[in-house]
Symmetry: C2
Subunit: 511 residues, 2 copies
């Protein structure tokens, strides 16, 4: 058995059976081995950024890693932005990156580059395999690293693929997350009991079990229940607890966090501004607020919340927090508010929402608050071009659930090739393009940074409406049914149709 087959068999044996791939020559032995390891599902993407974003979306829904298969340093470069998002989400991902044969690498061939330098900023774990015998054991370690909530990147030279291996390596056991330090639970309990406090949930704490524990703790202590601005996977809808999200905008976040004497962090970092702005603080909590860490993201966050609930004498169940579903608008021209209301009114139960709608997101979050139970996935690393790939991977990782991708037009154009993979794999993804014809977030940020000058040259770098993009046509050209809507009834009809049929659809909503 060659090294390539030993790697694939090790992946499958360790529970990794989906590979989002955009391979090249140096990965041909891994490609060839796909036929001998039919348990591995290869999903072809037309661009590496689709593969890495799909791996992130998959991991968030399947709770286990997918592999990516990438072609040397430039292939990883193309994948980098969405690996960055996965890294910030603590999504388990195993990147398999091909490289030149070991003896070939130093000769200066066109594709040679320092792969480790490129991958390190977005990988918790990096290993360059030396030969075919070392490939499978390194791969087993990569999977174990990923299963701890890490991005693991395994660099496999071509000759480690074609050389003789020792066969697949057994799975490496995954260490449980570390318990929180001695006294952390007691400190958090004391902080919340002191009054005027808040409990901030992030990471795994924003999922169903964490929310329930958080709500019980908040009810017992009178603390406010908050969540991170960008949670990798937020459990929402139905009667689930509804923590208040820390706002994206620095002044609003500062206001939301003002007046707190205590802030307890559970799986969340200390709140920090998305960007710095002249004259505005980077740290969002008030200087006088005492910040106490219950559990760091890599620690046993849920175990710590269980212990905290017990320490504060929380009641055994959380209060039910159902709110009414928004009414379905019946007419009128589309605007962002009406668009969000239609989505909120029609969102199927158990849907997976993938929201990269950027400036429209605040409307969608409000509009879907009254929907049935659903998961809400957002971009965690700020690298746009995440939504469509993540929706693709989420659909692979959560078969049988409807994926609704709320997608800004500017961000859509980074990784639009996702639609082709959605068509090829017949994934149940409905993409709604919020077509405002601009980098609206930049127009907004432009004023926030107090940038002087508001003239034509600057505006030109934020206007994506000239020429106008035809998203419905782009979708159809990649095999996905697409339509453009400008009125509420058209949208209602299009969305109902898309959600009732199998396979991908795209609706370009002109607002």
């Amino acid at each position: 058995m060659n090294g390539a087959e030993s790697v694939l068999r090790t992946l499958v044996g360790s529970g990794v059976d989906v590979c989002f791939a955009n391979p090249g020559t140096s990965e041909m032995h891994l490609v060839a081995a796909m036929d001998r390891v039919p348990e591995m599902r290869g999903v072809l993407t037309l661009f590496e950024g689709v593969a890495s974003g799909a791996a992130d979306g998959y991991a968030r829904m399947a709770d286990r890693p997918a592999a990516t298969l990438l072609h040397l340093g430039p292939g990883f470069g193309n994948a980098f932005a969405n690996v960055h998002n996965a890294y910030k989400a603590r999504s388990p991902v195993v990147n398999v990156v091909g490289d030149h044969a070991v003896a070939h690498k130093p000769l200066g061939a066109p594709l040679a580059s320092d792969i480790e330098s490129v991958v390190r900023p977005v990988s918790d774990w990096v290993r360059a395999v030396r030969d075919a015998r070392g490939a499978a054991p390194a791969c087993a370690e990569a999977v174990a690293a990923a299963r701890r909530g890490q991005v693991a990147t395994l660099i496999v030279p071509a000759d480690a693929g074609w050389g003789a291996s020792l066969g697949p390596a057994p799975p490496v056991s995954v260490a449980a997350p570390s318990p929180v330090p001695e006294g952390a639970v007691e400190a958090a309990a004391a902080a919340l009991r002191a009054g005027s406090g808040a409990l901030l949930l992030g990471g795994v704490a924003a999922r169903e079990r964490g929310l329930e524990l958080g709500a019980r703790i908040a009810a017992a202590t009178g603390a406010q229940l908050l969540r991170d601005t960008f949670c990798p996977r937020l459990a929402r809808g139905g009667g689930r607890p509804r923590p208040v999200g820390v706002p994206y905008e620095t002044p609003l976040a500062v206001e939301a966090l003002s007046g707190l004497s205590q802030l307890v962090l559970a799986g969340a970092q200390r709140p920090v501004g998305f960007f710095a702005y002249p004259g505005q603080p980077s740290l969002l909590a008030a200087p006088e607020t005492v910040v106490t860490q219950l559990a760091a993201p890599e620690e046993d966050v849920l175990g710590a919340l269980e212990a905290l609930a017990e320490a504060v004498g929380a009641s055994p169940s959380a209060p039910v927090a159902a709110v009414d579903r928004v009414a379905l608008p019946t007419g009128g021209a589309l605007d962002v508010e009406r668009l969000a209301a239609v989505v909120g009114a029609l969102l199927p139960d158990d849907a997976v929402v993938v929201d990269e709608s950027v400036t429209a997101s605040v409307f969608f979050v409000a509009g879907t608050a009254g929907a049935g139970e659903h998961d809400y996935l957002v971009i965690t690393g700020g690298s746009i071009g995440w939504g469509m790939p993540a929706a693709t991977g989420a659909a692979v990782g959560a078969p049988g659930r409807r994926v609704v991708n709320l997608q800004a037009d500017g961000s859509a154009m980074y990784t639009l090739q996702s639609l082709w993979t959605q068509a090829r794999e017949n994934l149940d993804v409905t993409t709604i393009i919020v077509a405002n014809r601009s980098y609206a977030i930049l127009e907004y940020e432009f004023s926030r940074v107090e940038a002087a000058g508001e003239g034509r040259a600057a505006r030109e770098l934020m206007d994506i409406g000239r020429p106008e993009l035809d998203f419905a046509g782009l979708a159809r050209s990649m095999g996905v049914p697409g339509m453009r809507v400008t009125e509420v009834p058209e949208l209602v009809s299009a969305l109902r149709g898309a959600l009732s049929e199998p396979g991908p659809h795209l609706i370009e909503a002109v607002v």
Copy 2:
């Protein structure tokens, strides 16, 4: 004057007046300064890989750097693959990469990452600016580095953009390339006079002056005249000298270089295989061939060729090497040979050909051999997704010349957003998509690497025909007139039309 304006004014004052941009919030002050520095032409791209590939194409045609404007580490990640191609081409490029404000960076905001680690593998020169006063001087050095044939990457924190500067910095003088070492010319002359030798031209030596010198030297010594497989800009057509290209395929290259007693390198590296293959050599020249370096790529290659021509007593003019133009095919279904013949027959004089047709390239190179004078640009770093961005930049860098982009379908899908910028800027680019519905190069490489297994799962990762991509529709959806052709007369009519009208066109040639 803030730091951002001082940077833009320094760029313009140093001769850099085009900026291919995909900015974000951290670059907003640079965007705002565009209005106060109208000499700078900002060209918006919808994806960073378009910006970096355009900068490469621009540099190859304009012989001076353009700037790119990129958004933190992930923005550079998206640009990475085409920066890699520029780096391998020794194209002068100045990357301006925004970063978080200095005090904000260590706080763990979503977009924070180690930018220097990502940029270093593809940058000859890297500098992270510390404050607004240091931005302009560093920028002037970046331009000087680029003008030496380097990729220079300048990292500009947001507060270095908004803080007060000392004004623009004067241009930094650019050192001339180093002369070749003592004795190099004499050694090369002796090698070529020894018989059974070849002179291998690369880099700048593949342009008009280098070719002419090479042809005179070859005529005087009886040496064979060769060129690199992948020259950044090859002067061709009309009566220009016609060096033989070293073949891409290792066995063919080994055969082409066999029987040489001497190989003299002028601006070229020692020939090395594109990839390694089991049982095949990585070094392409025969072990008994004596390799002599006349001039390394970073040295004064043309000066060394002048000296060598004198040393070997070359005649003052090169032999004219005109060949007949290929006849225009008149009918039949399209195949790659007929497609290449139509392009060769109709290629306008002074055209710029940008060839990323991959497996079809050998046909286009042959088909265009008899055309009038033109420049032929190919991918130098093997990172596909280069052709359409490079064609975009070449059109900006060579106004008044027709750009013909020969483009494989698989590679086109990496950076298809280029079409939108071509439409926006009304660039005279005619794109011909060679639609063979597969990663044909991979099918070919698959057999070359002796990968066992030829089953369905492996083939699935090379087949891009399911679903079928509609390139004409994709083009129209981004504002570029597009049509699909399947017969020779349709192609002839479409290509004549495209080449006679201003602005971009796309022809999807189904082969």
